[in-house]
């Protein structure tokens, strides 16, 4: 026998926590391993940790900004450049939406309606359900998710000390909300640009291999006539889809700051799920 020092506490701690709270990603992988095992066996093995859900939710939230610029015809580069230029005029934005989730474990997609508000540079509020059952608010240092019916709140810090999928997702999406063409090209490659019934769909592919393993493609659908974003669609490696169809879009409305600073009721149970050693 030999003396092993406390460094092994982390593995043990991880094992305890994982064994006790063996959780979502395992189930995510579980489902994937059965539904797409033959087709994506190799990819499944590569999908380490799969911080996916967090990423695609946030991706969906932040890709809203791709829809607020007008697109010239045909030339994807020209479209993107124009779009980026138009973003400089964007300060606020709001819309209604219908979200469709096509999960591999469900035979039929799930739909939910909601509203979204955005304020430059990085604040947003997302309400899902009518009345809202889930509210997501992006603040400078954290993402706050409220469950009014359950009186529950979750904080996901975005500061440098916070790690894990949320930080990864935000890094990806912050990079994906470029202020210049160079920044865009650093994160995404334009895969295709198609037109159907006057609506253009721009397919983007993450340049990062790890990001591609999570989310191989992002689609943006917009109208050239009013330069309004009509839909976003995220496709995940297991075949699941998340689509948002926007209506009643308003550009640069006057927004109340209170939208982005929700008051958490005293009767709410607040947690920090993304932090190691989660605390209430």
């Amino acid at each position: 026998m030999v003396s092993l020092r406390p460094h092994l506490a982390a593995p043990v701690s991880g094992a305890l926590a994982s064994a006790r709270f063996w959780t979502a990603p395992a189930l995510w992988r579980f489902g994937k391993s059965h539904s797409v095992r033959k087709r994506q066996r190799a990819a499944a093995l590569q999908d380490a940790g799969a911080p996916g859900t967090a990423r695609w939710v946030l991706t969906a939230l932040l890709l809203l900004h791709f829809g607020v610029a007008s697109l010239p015809a045909a030339d994807p580069n020209a479209i993107v450049n124009t779009w980026l230029a138009s973003q400089t005029n964007l300060t606020t934005w709001q819309a209604d939406f219908t979200q469709t989730r096509a999960l591999s474990t469900l035979t039929q997609p799930l739909t939910a309606r909601g509203r979204v508000w955005f304020a430059a540079p990085r604040r947003f509020r997302w309400e899902l359900g009518e009345p809202p059952q889930t509210i997501a608010v992006r603040q400078p240092t954290e993402v706050l998710i409220l469950y009014p019916r359950l009186k529950r709140a979750e904080r996901y810090p975005l500061d440098a000390a916070a790690g894990g999928p949320w930080k990864d997702a935000m890094a990806l999406l912050d990079a994906g909300f470029p202020r210049s063409r160079a920044e865009l090209d650093a994160t995404f490659a334009i895969a295709a640009l198609t037109e159907t019934n006057g609506l253009h769909t721009l397919a983007l592919q993450p340049k990062s291999a790890s990001a591609r393993k999570l989310m191989p493609e992002i689609q943006l659908t917009f109208s050239l006539r009013d330069n309004v974003l009509r839909a976003t669609q995220l496709r995940f490696t297991d075949g699941s889809l998340l689509r948002n169809d926007f209506t009643n879009v308003v550009m640069n409305p006057k927004l109340d700051d209170a939208l982005f600073a929700p008051v958490i009721g005293a009767d709410y149970q607040v947690s920090l799920p993304a932090a190691k050693g989660a605390k209430n």
């Binding site: 406390p6 926590a17 006790r20 709270f21 979502a24 995510w28 967090a54």
Partner: protein, 1142 residues
């Protein structure tokens, strides 16, 4: 070699056969400490007890992930080495296997909790509708994933059981937050029980990964290894390295020093061979006595070499100094000192067994065994082969070092003391004190409370483990909770018992982040009670399935539910506690569940809270929990607990050791001044050590604190030896340094080398212990060699003669008076008193002739005797004398044997009669001593005489007017003759040598003067001979003792038919002055004394010009004493051998 010596090989062989090595550092610690016991349990049964941990670092997360997967797959191909290799949580690779753990976890919950599931499944349609709503509206990744594949929520334990999930994927233990650092768990094939197995397995695995590493080196991938196999292999190889480097290094230094001093190959090689044999023998005996040796204790080897070589050096030095002596003679001369030294040094190391640290005790025991073995080897085996067939060292071929020769023969060259030396010493001392004070005023060396001294140094395994802690862990030292029980039920009960205490500790912020896997522990009672519920739930399988499919869920969504229901179905009919058994469950459970110690063990984890005090509330909790069969442990607690133990036991070690030290110093010096000087030297050494530690940035820790008793034991020797040398050389600093100082330098250098070589030990604590001990020994030597002599001179300034004091033999040689042996008391009294430590001999051995007076024969002891004689009634004094004589008879076998040997010729070889006479002699001597003290204290003694025979012979001789030389032997109480002469109106001049202590000389002169007896010191006065002649020519009376001659004045005569050396001083004085030579005896008779003046010994003065005639006259004088000696053999007081060797 004697045949019986071969028998010694039997225990050595048994010891070697029994010898085992233990590489567990924790086994060095006291198991009775709860923290230690807990850690031992944890290390032995948990912490992935057998797993190899491989860390992988890459420039970016993507490359790290790809490389980790690739490496794991590569390792899995080595099926002869590896059972499993995980680069990510196993449940991510085989998520379907996680269902079993979830199902069993539910079974372990209280029945009321488990029964809640029946509500969820009683109306499956409603449950599924709620799930769909969550799936549509939730932003939580965990919730969406869980609900997708667990639509009935079977994996979600109630909030009362499980805390909110902290990180769900479980990959926090496999990858750092930035993903660039990853961890792989590799399970070896086989048990790897021994360190050779670990080393061989690790070598094979490294070889297997080498090709993979080459392929990935360009990608910037770096690998490191840790875990038990690496620690074991490292410690084992560290042991070999320690043994090789420290042993070879120490032997090298010994060889260099020996060659520098002696420049002889044969003794050098034989010395090294004996040292090597001593090491091997010590290992064998260590195996016999201890059995399993901890490898950390292998540091004993270097210490032992540094100490054991001293004995060989001493033997060789003595052999050089006695060119004509055989090996046996040298051994007889030196062995007592070496053996006593070995006993005291071994004792000092054995004291480490009281340190409270079993490992340190083991180290001490090994060194003690080695010292004993080394002393015996050097004493009995070193010289004989060197002396060879010639049986003697040839002085011409092998000239002894000048100092050694002078030392041994006693013919020392006394050099004048340098007047400035003491001042230099004092100035240097003052400068040192100021320097130390300045440095230490900034603070003393710190006391480290950590357990780091137990860690290995320069260890890849350790540094990698630290890296894992930094990159993946909490960075704080965790605490482990280990609960034990004979079966599952007992563990569960104990968990329930300690839960309130732990929760209270959490609420008091003593603990934080407590993770106790109680929810996963198989609780037999709960499982038994949950059987019916499990059976009912399993029976809902078809209903659940149908409802789910109708509710829009695919079959994929039900796979997990189906597996869980299967486990519950099986559990419903189980008769024994249900454990999850698949690979994912097993891998997970191995982190915190173990079977061992005749039962089960469970481990949890916690961290010290904001109000945690390692020496206070945490320690209290750690002490309380064991009463419930649980242990709170951790390295942070270990350091504090051990340090407390060491600090407590240090006083148990230091107290007796200091008492022994004081007693040793007192017996060595018998003068408080010199005792205090030794203590002052030790104190200054300690101060120097502290200063060096402060400058070097060392701190005290739980291992090097034990250097204090070791340094007390080793460091005091230098002060003793130097002061003894100063005494011998009359305060000649240069001579003392050249002789004893040189020898001490060799000894100190080898000891420093021995301890210092531990600095490269692979164990941090042993290295710090070695460094501190080496520095302390060096400091002790420097102080004793450079400063102490100066202090000694200052202290002794008032008592030393102006010229350096000479040894007795030197005084004899230098005196122009040929009768310089006639010290009336000193020789016999000093001889009678105990030998200084280290000079004793065993029964039956030829005792050595003491070369110096007993240390007890000093002014202080004499003054005490005089005081006692004044106040004690004579009867009581006589009684005390009887007791003292008896005790001395028993305690001094060597003196006893000397006296017996002296008396044998007087009893015609009848040993029994000689023994009886010797016993009476001891008693008579103490009585004589008591009467002498009474006499010298002023008590009238004339009433003690019950006979005065032959006074007319004195009167007749005196009447001739040419002086009377009263000659006598060390027979009876000769000092009492002075008062008789005074009483009769004559003045007596007693010839005497200076006493060993100048103050004693003065005291005795004064005592004689009180009775009208003059004393002439003949030792240092070149004109004493003239004074004696003058006194004779004036018709005076002079007293002289004959039977302890100096070498130069000794002539051989016959006594009882045997050769006997006697002083020719009487004959010489007769020739020079023509005085009357009158033998006198004053012996005890009954309760008083009888004085008898024997017939005058006549001579022809002219004939005495012939040397042979003077010898014949001396023979006649001595023959006159034979009747008295026959009559009173028990009053002939000689405590050193008096018969020349045949």
């Amino acid at each position: 070699m004697k045949r019986w010596l071969w028998l010694l090989l039997i225990p050595l062989a048994l010891g070697l056969a029994r010898l085992r090595f233990d590489v567990e550092v924790l086994n060095l610690l006291p198991r009775e400490l709860p923290v230690v016991h807990g850690l031992q349990l944890y290390q032995r049964h948990f912490a992935s007890a057998n797993e190899l941990l491989v860390t992988l670092e890459a420039p970016d997360a993507e490359r790290a992930e790809t490389a980790a997967r690739s490496l794991a797959e590569h390792l899995r191909t080595a099926t002869n080495l590896v059972v499993a290799a995980h680069w990510q949580p196993p449940w991510l690779e085989q998520p379907e296997l996680a269902a079993e753990l979830a199902a069993v976890t539910w079974l372990n919950q209280p029945p009321a909790v488990f029964a809640q599931l029946t509500n969820q499944l009683a109306n499956p349609a409603a449950t599924l509708a709620a799930t769909r709503e969550r799936l549509a509206t939730s932003f939580s990744p965990e919730e969406i994933a869980r609900a997708s594949f667990d639509p009935f929520g079977l994996t979600q334990l109630p909030a009362t059981v499980s805390a909110p999930a902290s990180f769900g994927r479980g990959d926090g233990m496999f990858a750092s937050a930035d993903g660039t650092f990853r961890l792989l768990f590799v399970k070896p094939r086989g048990t790897l029980a021994t360190y050779p197995e670990c080393a061989a397995w690790l070598d094979a695995l490294r070889a297997h990964t080498a090709s993979w590493q080459r392929d990935n080196a360009a990608s910037g991938i770096t690998l490191h290894f840790t875990g038990r196999p690496v620690f074991v292999a490292e410690i084992a190889s560290g042991m070999e390295r320690d043994m090789q480097s420290s042993v070879l290094g120490t032997l090298g230094i010994i060889a260099v020093l020996f060659w520098w001093v002696h420049r002889r190959w044969r003794p050098l090689l034989w010395l090294l061979a004996l040292l090597t044999l001593t090491l091997a023998g010590t290992l064998a005996l260590g195996g016999l006595v201890i059995g399993t040796l901890n490898v950390v204790c292998m540091g004993f080897a270097a210490i032992l070499l540094g100490l054991a070589v001293d004995y060989g050096l001493v033997m060789y030095q003595e052999a050089l100094a006695m060119p004509g002596a055989t090996a046996t003679e040298v051994r007889r001369h030196v062995a007592p000192g070496i053996l006593w030294s070995a006993v005291t040094t071994a004792g000092a190391f054995l004291v480490l067994n009281f340190s409270g640290l079993p490992g340190l005790g083991q180290l001490g025991t090994l060194v003690a065994i080695g010292i004993a073995l080394g002393a015996l080897a050097m004493v009995y085996a070193y010289l004989p082969p060197l002396l060879g067939s010639e049986s003697r060292l040839q002085a011409a071929q092998h000239p002894p070092p000048p100092n050694a020769a002078r030392e041994a023969t006693g013919r020392r060259e006394v050099l004048p003391a340098k007047a400035g030396t003491p001042n230099f010493s004092l100035l240097a001392t003052l400068a040192l004190l100021v320097g130390c004070a300045l440095i230490l005023s900034r603070g003393l060396p710190l006391l480290s409370h950590s357990a780091d001294p137990l860690r290995p140094t320069h260890s890849e395994a350790y540094s990698t483990a630290e890296l894992i802690s930094q990159r993946l862990g909490d960075r704080r030292d965790p605490l482990w909770l280990v609960a034990s029980g004979r079966d599952e039920a007992e563990v569960a009960d104990r968990l329930a018992a300690i839960q309130p205490m732990l929760q209270e500790a959490v609420s008091n912020q003593v603990l934080t982040n407590l993770l106790l896997p109680d929810a996963l522990w198989p609780h037999p009672a709960h499982q038994h009670a949950n059987r019916d519920t499990a059976r009912w739930l399993a029976a809902q399988r078809d209903t659940i399935r149908t409802t789910a499919l109708q509710g829009g869920f695919s079959t994929n969504a039900l796979l997990l539910t189906d597996r869980i229901l299967t486990v519950w179905s099986n559990a419903a009919s189980a008769t024994r506690p249900v454990w999850p058994t698949n690979s994912v469950s097993t891998w997970t459970l191995e982190r915190f569940v173990a079977r061992g110690e005749g039962g089960f063990l469970l481990a949890g984890i916690a961290y010290p809270g904001a109000r945690a005090e390692t020496g206070g509330n945490l320690a209290e909790l750690a002490t309380t929990l064991p009463t419930h069969g649980a242990w709170l442990t951790g390295w942070s607690l270990l350091g504090e607990a051990l340090l407390g133990l060491v600090q407590r036991d240090l006083w148990f070690v230091l107290g007796p050791m200091f008492a022994v030290l004081l007693a040793s110093l007192w017996f060595a010096f018998k003068r408080w001044g010199e005792v205090l000087l030794s203590l002052a030297a030790l104190a200054l050494s300690g101060l120097l050590l502290l200063t060096v530690m402060r400058l070097a940035g060392w701190s005290w820790d739980l291992l090097n604190l034990m250097a204090i008793p070791l340094l007390l034991g080793c460091g005091v020797d230098y002060g003793i030896h130097m002061q003894m040398a100063l005494r011998r050389h009359g305060g000649d600093l240069a001579l003392a340094r050249r002789t004893t100082g040189s020898a001490l330098f060799l000894c100190a250098a080898t000891t420093v080398a021995g301890f210092g070589s531990l600095a490269w030990s692979s164990n941090a604590g042993l290295a710090s212990l070695g460094l501190v001990c080496a520095t302390g020994v060096a400091a002790a030597f420097i102080v004793a060699w450079a400063l102490l002599p100066g202090w000694w001179r200052v202290l002794q300034h008032d008592t030393l003669p102006l010229t350096p004091a000479l040894s007795r033999r030197e005084r004899e040689e230098r005196s122009p008076l040929p009768t310089s042996t006639n010290a009336p008391e000193a020789s016999t009294l000093a001889d009678f008193l105990p030998l200084p430590a280290g000079e004793g001999l065993g029964e039956g051995e030829r005792p050595p002739t003491p070369s110096r007076p007993s240390a007890l024969y000093g002014s202080l002891g004499w003054r005490f005797g005089l005081s006692a004689a004044r106040v004690l009634p004579r009867s009581l004094a006589q009684l005390l004398c009887r007791i003292g004589a008896r005790a001395y008879w028993l305690a001094q076998p060597q003196r006893r044997e000397v006296v017996i040997q002296n008396l044998l010729p007087l009893h015609d070889g009848d040993r029994a009669a000689a023994i009886l006479a010797a016993r009476r002699l001891f008693l008579n001597f103490t009585r004589k001593l008591a009467d002498l003290w009474r006499f010298e204290s002023g008590t009238p003694v004339m009433a003690s005489f019950n006979q005065l025979a032959g006074w007319e012979r004195f009167e007749t001789a005196h009447a001739r007017g040419r002086g009377v030389l009263l000659v006598t032997l060390h027979l009876g109480n000769w000092e009492l003759g002075g008062p008789i002469l005074t009483h009769k109106g004559h003045r007596l001049l007693a010839l005497s040598n200076p006493e060993p202590d100048p103050r004693l000389t003065e005291m005795r002169q004064a005592a004689r003067a009180r009775w009208g007896v003059e004393t002439l010191l003949v030792g240092g006065d070149p004109f004493a001979f003239v004074e004696v002649i003058k006194r004779m020519n004036a018709g005076g009376a002079v007293a002289l003792l004959l039977d302890r001659p100096a070498e130069k004045s000794a002539v051989e005569v016959e006594l009882f038919g045997r050769p006997f050396l006697v002083s020719n001083a009487a004959a010489e004085l007769a020739r020079a002055s023509g005085c009357a030579v009158v033998p006198v005896v004053i012996v005890r008779r009954g309760d008083g004394y009888a004085a008898q003046i024997l017939p005058e010994q006549t001579y022809e003065r002219a004939a005495l010009g012939n040397r042979e005639q003077r010898r014949a006259f001396t023979q006649e004088i001595l023959r006159a004493f034979e009747p008295s000696l026959r009559e009173h053999p028990d009053q002939w007081y000689h405590f050193v051998p008096i018969w020349p060797r045949p």
